[in-house]
């Protein structure tokens, strides 16, 4: 009950955020954004034809009306048809979001899980060669450009010059085997890059917790290392860990990975967003930006509720 009340209150307080984000994106992308009028008209249009097309596109409406229209579209999740393909935007998203999700989820989960695991080793054996090796590798992973990693991994794992184990480009989730073969190289590339950042972040969180007084107290009472890790270190480190993970979820769902999707020819949200930016496809852009803002508000709500679950000092007020 407490959580329900809190959630409702928090959702309402998220409205200004959504309004702010949508207003800015509306002004930049829509109001002063690409003008489609002349693309739709033939050569030498008459002023009447121009006015007609502009009124069809809604360009003749005042600012407020057009913005409120956008908000209405966002509330009903009805963004009309894509300018470039004519496909309904909701259908387009319904088709591409699962693809992006299926593409990024394995890398996201692995990147974080391995990151926590490596960070744990580094923190437990801190300032020994184990720690130094892990942290040096993390810096290497962070320093190499994502683009280079993608191309290198394609050559190594997917081309006839390298191992040739996986297809270079394309996408299919027809069977588990297909899915695995298409998702393997993108996942390896994502993990390779994300792991460095994640390991460094989680290591610093864990090390900070390991040097706390209560950890020393627990040791002085004979707590064995496994329990020390779970009860004293992990549970107390969960707040920054939750924050990092939950706040990356909107990005994983909505924006996918533009680079990955374009280099591997995968039809995900990243790809359609990129195309929409290039072609000035406003309905698609409006949908993607608005939904991202909403997902962030939801993520914030989720983190707050999860904080409450792990830390008794936090009350939902």
């Amino acid at each position: 009950m407490e959580i329900l009340q809190y959630s409702i209150r928090k959702l309402f307080s998220g409205i200004p955020l959504i309004l702010g984000v949508t207003l800015i994106s509306f002004v930049l992308m829509v109001y002063f954004g690409p003008d489609k009028t002349y693309e739709l008209l033939g050569k030498n249009p008459t002023p009447e034809e121009i006015a007609e097309v502009r009124s069809q596109l809604g360009y003749d409406q005042p600012f407020v009306v057009r913005y409120v229209d956008y908000l209405r579209e966002l509330a009903t999740l009805d963004f009309g048809n894509s300018d470039s393909t004519g496909e309904r935007v909701d259908a387009l998203l319904a088709r591409t979001i699962p693809v992006s999700l299926a593409l990024t989820a394995p890398g996201f989960v692995l990147g974080n899980a391995l990151g926590i695991l490596l960070a744990l080793f580094a923190a437990y054996y801190r300032s020994t060669w184990v720690d130094k090796t892990i942290m040096a590798s993390a810096v290497i992973g962070m320093s190499i450009s994502f683009l280079i990693v993608i191309i290198a991994f394609q050559i190594i794992f997917a081309s006839s010059y390298g191992l040739g184990w996986f297809p270079v480009r394309g996408w299919s989730i027809g069977s588990i085997g297909d899915y695995f073969s298409y998702v393997a190289v993108p996942t390896m590339a994502t993990v390779f890059v994300a792991l460095g950042y994640n390991t460094r972040f989680y290591r610093s969180v864990l090390v900070e917790e390991m040097t706390r007084d209560h950890v020393r107290t627990a040791k002085a009472f004979g707590v064995p290392p496994s329990k020390l890790f779970y009860k004293n270190i992990l549970k107390n480190s969960l707040i920054p860990i939750i924050t990092r993970i939950v706040f990356s979820i909107p990005l994983v769902i909505i924006s996918g990975s533009l680079l990955i999707e374009s280099y591997f020819g995968i039809p995900g949200v990243g790809k359609i967003t990129y195309d929409a930016i290039i072609s000035g496809d406003q309905p698609v852009l409006k949908a993607v930006v608005g939904l991202t803002a909403i997902l962030f508000v939801l993520a914030q709500l989720l983190t707050d509720i999860m904080y409450r679950a792990v830390d008794p000092r936090i009350t939902l007020k």
């Binding site: 627990a218 002085a220 009472f221 004979g222 009860k231 004293n232």
Partner: protein, 337 residues
Amino acid sequence: MAEDKKPPLLSVQNLIIEFATENGVVRATDNISFDIFANETVGIVGESGCGKTVTGLSILGLIPSPPGRIVGGSITFMGRELVGLPEEEMRKIRGCHISMIFQEPMTALNPVFSIGNQMTDVLIRHHGLTRRQARDSAIEMLAKVGIPAPAKRIDEYPHQLSGGMRQRVMIAMALSCDPKLLIADEPTTALDVTTQAQVLEQISKLQAEFHMAVVLITHDLGVVAETCRRAIVMYCGRIVENASIEHLFASPRHPYAKGLLDSIPQIRSQRLEELPIIPGRVPDLLQLPPGCRFADRCPRADGLCSEQIPKLAPSGTHADRVACHHPYPAVQAGSAS
């Protein structure tokens, strides 16, 4: 001192602990030796950085390593060598036979688990109780340390308790397995004066009830005078004096101990212009003088003092010991203030 004839409960011999720092190796304790007998309360006194906390931690094998390391010496507890004991064996001793409580009650307990959860863990681990038995036992302990409504309080989290209450919870947790030795590292420093007195009284009371020895690490000579039977005075990683409270307070032998006692604010018969202080400052642990570490600040120092380190030697008819080439004469005092 009848205890002297029995073997000591804890015996520390020639303990050397070193810390690797960025500027070089620092000796936190240098050849310290002392005995703790059953049922006695001993204070370890000294200023910050003199090695008293490190000594306490080393008994439980809790020196953070790296950078710390026991280089030499031995710690025997009930006839058993603790230096070099495997972690697993050491864990059975920690919180069971030897307990430790810490300075900061605010941060010494795990904030995300209830105090009951933390207390029962200790009992289940060391005494193999069921969760229900452990809970009953924990409630009983909380009542013993003077926590009102313990059956209700046990489910609270550390942040819901005051500093004094938290320190009592720490004491209850430390004593729950009936240890033979309690190491209290500045247990009252973070508390206000009234709470401080209550907590000390509680420790003294429980010390008698549980028949345990207490090592009280503190910089507060007032606390030592109130609670201890014997005090070990440390300076720069060495023990300079180890004497009974009566002797130490009536006639300190080591000039550093005397300086410490003289600098306590107190109501004196003759008005002083200003409180005496010990001149000079503590030497850098990285650049210790070759002789007595107190020589530069000592009113009685001569050439010998800056050349040769004085040994901790019996200082008279008693069990007292002092490490000084020119100690103050012992006064046969019958009265301790």
